[in-house]
Structures are given as structure tokens and as C-alpha cells.
Amino acid sequence: MDILTQLATGFVHCLTPINMIMLVVGISLGLLIGVLPGLTLVMGVALALPFTYKMDVTASIVLLTAMYVSGTYGGAFTAILFRIPGEPIDVPMLWDGYTMGRNGKPAKALGWTLVSALGGGLLSAVVMVALTEPLAKFALRFSSPEYFVIVMFGLLSVVAIGKGSLANAFISMAVGILISTVGTDPVYGAYRFTFGSPILADGIEFLVVMVGAYGVGEVLTRLETGFSTKPIEKVSNARTELPTWEEFKEVKGMFFRSSVIGDLIGLLPGAGATIASFVSYGIEAKFGRRAKDMGTGIAEGIIAPQAAATASVGGALVHLLALGIPGSGATAVILGAFMLHGIQPGPQVLVSSAGMVYTIFASLFLGLAIMCIIGYFAIRPLVKILDFPEAVVSAYVLILCFIGALSIRNNVTDLWLIIAFGVIGYGFERMKFPLAPLVLGVILGPIAEDSFMNTMISFSNDWTVFFTRPISGTIVAFTAIVIALPFIQHALARRKGIAAEAK
């Protein structure tokens, strides 16, 4: 009951003009980012981060969360209409969404997308409200060893669950942690890795790393291909046709299943909307009632990725708010926004800033409704944005990155750093080193170091406490399982291959 009362208060706060403006702006920007192929969701949220410096913390989190939610939906438009996935999340949308469009039903495909985003999002919002407070209350029992292992769990999950080489992901994470150690050490006040430069004594702002790696790096990657996005065909019938109740009843079971899968994946630190989208599609293609028809343009192939992607947002916000652990690049940026305002999310935040947390919750419900209204009515102007040449859009993106760097302390060194991290981000992308572990390493590195050093001081350098204390020991066991998963999967795939060869 208390939760419902607080949520009602959250709705009242959310309906204030500034929060509503931020909500509408965030939803619109998220949809635009989703539509534009050169811009990714994390990049968009990271680009908006510097501009939240002078804003009220609640309004800035409402803005970024709204961008995060609608970014999981906007890319579906271009995937369905033009076979251009605006986001990696939308790649599964090409297989059935685009095919349904090619079969003469693009409006219906867009309708299924809208309903899936709304349904998945609402379910995840309910789960978020129900789980955050109990989890935060449980986390109040945590001491420094538990914090250290939970942070490491978050970091290592990103490495183990993501795509690509594990070794590369470990290297990326280590580089991120090392970047976070540059500057003055918090315990001794000693200079670390400053190489005699006074500007590095203040450390490297995570904002510079994020905006550089995701913003500048992505533009450089696209520039190297000569901004080669294919010109789009003219689509005259870009509209949304909602599914009928009869059509919906046929898929309600898998609709619910996909939303639950998305929510559960979102709850895992390390797994974001992209993973939810792929896994949900994969499960439907393997075990679904119409598994054999997947890829031929059926509704199930649209619902599975879209409902799961949007549903993952609520799950991801649970551990961000209750534990202070971001699970993906986008939530890492949202954590960054909290930290810019001097707030460390975690169990205490529900005690000290419950009003803010419930306003954020309420904004997710309202945001989903606004997202669907804008998505339904504004589809034509949204896809019209694709007429802008990529070179023009990219030039503006770079200027936003530069303003972000200069806004930190009006120092050109930050501009140089952002360019340097852009080049590093490009290099990582080119050599298939994932960026998410790097960014999470930069954000979570200081928290991990702090809790590690506190543990070592409190427990006389006894590192076995991480294993012997019940809660931290359990989290270590979970971490070991998550790390072992890719190896088990790899071994199983090899055995399967050998068996197939023998046959």
C-alpha cells in the first residue's frame, strides 16, 4: 500500500511542467535516435548527459530514462519500412517485421511493434515498482565485501553475456578500470598515471570517455565507410494499423512470455535491450508454437524482440536504482547522471530520495503512453528525418560531443581527451573490442576500488571474506556460474559438432 501511495505521489510530481517537458523531449529524442541509423541508443543518451549538468536531478533522469525507453522502439520504424535497423536491438525486427512489410502489411507490422512496446514496457514498469524497494531493503544488509562482489558481478556479467570474444571483453574492462584510476588516489592522495600532467591529477571524467567512445568513435566508424547508408525508398503509406482484439488473443501467451523474458534479462546486470531482443527472438524461433514460420513475416517474430527489448528497461532500472549497478551502456550513462548531481544510487537512495525514485517510476508509465501517442501520429515526420544526409547529421553530433566536453570546465584539454577517446572507441570497434565493458569499467571502477580497499582495511587484508560471508559468497558463486556459461556453451557446441561429424 505504501508503494502505491508513493507511486501516486510520484505521478503528481511527474506531472509538473518541467518533468512533463523533459518527458516529451526525451521520448521525441529517443525516437529520433532510434530512427537515425548513425546514432545508437547509448550514444544518444551519452550525448544528452552533459546538458543535464545544470538541470534538476529528477528532471535529468526523467529525460534520460525517457530516451532509453523510446530508443528501444524508434528503430523499429526504419527496420520495418526500409530494412535499416536504427539500433542493434532492431536487427531481429528485419527478419519478420520487414518481411511482413514486404508482404504488403507494413502498417500492421508497425501496429504490432507499438502494441508490443507498450505491453512489454508496462509489464516491466510494474515489475520495477514491485521489486526495487524489496531489493533495496535487502541490499541494506550489504557491507563493503558484498558491494565489491556485486560490482564485480555486474562487470563480469557484461563480459560473459555479451557478444564477441571474451578475451577482448576482459581487456576492454581492464582498460576501463585503468582509466578510472588516473588521477589522485582517494586513500593516500598519491598521483597515479598522471605522467606529470596537472590536468590528469583531477582524473579523467567518465563523461569524456562515454561521449568520446560512443559519440565521436561511432561517427569516425561511419565516416570511414563514406557514410554509406543506402538511400531510402519513398514510402507513401507510413502509418500504423493496430492489431484487432481477435488477432491479439491468438498471441497473448507468447506476448506475455516475451515480456517476462525481457524483464528477466533486464534484471541481469550485464544484459540490456539488445540481448533481450535477440534471446527472446531465439527462444521463439526454437520453442514457439509457430517456430517453423519465424522469418516469414509473422506477428510472433515482431512481438518477441520488441516486447522483450522494451520490457528489459524496467528490469535494468531495478538494479540500477536498488543496488547502484548499471547493467548496460545506457544505464551506465543514467548512473553517470546521478553521479553528476552527487547522488549514488543504491539502497540508501530509496530512503533519502524516495520522492525522486517514485517520480522516475511514474515517468516510465507516462512515458510509455506518450511514446505510443507520438509513435502512432508522428511516424511520417519521424521517418522523414532519414532524408537528412548522414554527413550533415554526423557534423551536428560531433558539435554536440564538443559542447559536452567544453561544458565540463571550459578547458580545451577535455576537447583533446574526447577526440582521443573517440579514436580509441573507433579502434575498439574496428578490432571488435566491445565498448560496454570499457564504459562500465570507468563508471564502476572507483566504486569497486573503494569497496575493495575498505574491505581490505576492515578485514586486515583477508581476501577470503569475499567467499566466507554468506551473501558475498553466494554472489561469488553466481558470478562463477555466469563466467562459466560461455565456456559451457562453447564446449557443448563443440561436442555437438563432433557428434554431427561422426554421423
Binding site: 536487427v91 555479451g162 571474451l166 565516416l223 558539435i399 559542447i403 560461455p486
Partner: protein
């Protein structure tokens, strides 16, 4: 082979260099407490160890890479022609950004941004001159009003006479 292990060899060498450098951190040790070099050294170990492991795997085992869990859920995509790459454009873009960083303290944000926008669109291969210059003016003015006058973001003024461009924005009366 050399090409495939080169990034890891560089990573390993950087790890060794950083390990040695971390030994030079100047601090007064406290009895029974770990020093400020311990945490970075754990990260360096992870980096160097991962590089060494990957190099050894590529040279000795040559089996398939151990990949993240998500890889198994990837549907095999249709084979597409690899996109052509233009290293010249990339270098051009990086050089242009470096010129911006050098020039902006002198030209100021307004002039520097205006020139950068136009130059970057040309480097990016766009050739509609009217749109390039028109949009550069529009976006520069919009950024000036939004960030200098509305959001009060502190941005480089540049030297005279370019600094007058910034000052003009502060003459706009506030009506909000």
C-alpha cells in the same frame, strides 16, 4: 598470424610498461594497509593476462574463439558485401577535429563551430553547397542561442575580433 596477434602484443607491452610505471607511485606507506598501486595492478594483471592468453590461443590452439553467451542466439544473417572503407576520409575527419581543438581557443566557439560544420560536411562527401553553408549558419546560431544564452554553458570566446561573435549572443535580451 602476426597481424592477428599484433593488438594483443601491443596490449601486453602496454601492460608491462604500466606495471613498471605503477611501481613509481610516490606515497607514504601505512603499516598493514595496501598501497595505491595495488588496485591498478590488479587491472593491469587482468589486461596483460588476457592479452597473453589470447596470443597463446591464436598461436598454439587455433580453435574457435570463446565468445559471449549472446552469440548462440544470433541468427545467421544473409551474407552481405563488405562495405568499402576509405582510410583517407577517416584521417581527414581526425585531422579536422584536431584543427578544431587547436583553433577554437583563438577563433572562439561561434566561428570555430561554423567552419568545422561546413568543413566536416565536405569531408563527409556531401556536396550541396547551399545546404552546407545554410545549415552551418543555422546550427551555429541555434547552438549559440541555446548554449550561451539559455543554458549558460561556458564556451571558448576566442581572441579579438572573433570574441565579438560570442558577445553578440549576450546582447539578446532574456525574456524567460
Amino acid at each position: 598470424m602476426v597481424r592477428s596477434i599484433a593488438p594483443y602484443l601491443i596490449g601486453l607491452l602496454i601492460s608491462v610498461g604500466l606495471w613498471i610505471y605503477s611501481g613509481t607511485i610516490d606515497y607514504s606507506p601505512r603499516p598493514g594497509e595496501l598501497g595505491p598501486e595495488v588496485w591498478p595492478r590488479l587491472a593491469i594483471l587482468l589486461m596483460g593476462g588476457s592479452c597473453l592468453f589470447e596470443m597463446a590461443r591464436r598461436m598454439l590452439v587455433k580453435n574457435e574463439d570463446a565468445t559471449g553467451f549472446l552469440e548462440a542466439f544470433e541468427k545467421e544473417e544473409e551474407k552481405e558485401e563488405p562495405e568499402p572503407v576509405y582510410p583517407g576520409l577517416l584521417i581527414g575527419g581526425i585531422v579536422l577535429m584536431a584543427i578544431y581543438a587547436v583553433a577554437v581557443p583563438y577563433l572562439g566557439f561561434i566561428f570555430g563551430t561554423f567552419l568545422f560544420l561546413a568543413a566536416f560536411m565536405y569531408v563527409g562527401g556531401y556536396r550541396s553547397h547551399g545546404v552546407i553553408w545554410g545549415m552551418s549558419v543555422f546550427v551555429t546560431l541555434a547552438c549559440g542561442v541555446l548554449f550561451l544564452r539559455v543554458a549558460y554553458v561556458s564556451l571558448p570566446r576566442g581572441i579579438e575580433p572573433f570574441s565579438y561573435a560570442n558577445d553578440i549572443f549576450f546582447m539578446i535580451p532574456r525574456v524567460w
